[in-house]
């Protein structure tokens, strides 16, 4: 089964970290993803730019409206994602709990609909 792991972290905490600590965190995250891929459990992963780069788009009656900023303002912000392929939710939770950002942020684990959404 495929799961999307949405990684929420407080951007302020990240920005307050010394550069050397951020590099260690980034390296650990990449090494972890590398290990998951070697086991055939990772489909894709990436960090996202800060939420202030977000644009929110709606179309109503053919008219597009765009607003700056994320869909929802929250204390922790969506900072990246992992798309994984594992046996069940238990495995997905185990993988999420070992991702470095789980130690100071929150990871939402959501199963993909693999048979269509209707």
């Amino acid at each position: 089964m495929k799961y999307l792991c949405l990684v929420y972290v407080e951007e302020k905490i990240l920005h307050a970290m010394p550069q050397s600590e951020r590099v260690v965190l980034s390296n650990e995250s990449m090494a972890y993803c590398d290990g998951l891929q070697k086991q055939g459990q990772l489909i894709a992963a990436s960090p996202l730019h800060p939420v202030e780069t977000a644009t929110t788009v709606r179309v109503r009656d053919g008219k597009t409206s765009t607003t700056d900023g994320p869909f929802a303002e929250t204390k922790e912000q969506l900072g990246g994602y992992l798309l994984i392929d594992v046996r069940d939710l238990n495995d997905a939770v185990r993988i999420a709990s070992k991702f470095p950002a789980a130690q100071f942020g929150s990871i939402e684990v959501r199963p993909l609909k693999e048979l269509g959404c209707a």
């Binding site: 644009t55 179309v59 130690q103 684990v109 959501r110 209707a118």
Partner: protein
């Protein structure tokens, strides 16, 4: 540049749409992925199971804390995503306007931090 288009919609309102119309929206979304693919703009896309299936994972002082999700309680919930490759934000927003979910819900467009060394390719 790579962008994640996060599609939000009101699950309750969506579930009340006639099955036929929902199937049409799905067919339109799948058609869009093929159009994006043909244009070299497609990376990945998928709908997600309802927000009630979400699980939150946090680790504090080495202890995993697992609770029911989703992370954010909102009127509209994350319903799925598209990962696209676009020239710039303008093009990504143009793609977002073609996502059927943008017509009934909201699409958040977020640029990826493109780093090397990830096991994506």
């Amino acid at each position: 540049m790579k962008f994640m288009l996060i599609v939000h919609h009101d699950e309750e309102a969506f579930s009340k749409i006639e099955k036929e119309k929902r199937q049409q929206l799905l067919a339109e979304s799948i058609e869009l992925t093929h159009q994006l693919h043909a244009a070299g703009q497609y990376l990945s896309a998928s709908p997600l199971q309802p927000a009630a299936t979400a699980v939150m994972v946090r680790v504090r002082e080495g202890k995993p804390l697992v609770t029911d999700g989703p992370f954010i309680e909102t009127r509209e919930q994350i319903a799925g995503y598209f990962l696209v490759d676009a020239k710039d934000l303008k093009e990504a927003v143009r793609i977002a306007t073609r996502v059927p979910g943008a017509h009934i819900g909201t699409v958040e467009v977020r640029p990826l931090i493109e780093i090397t060394g990830l096991p994506n390719e």
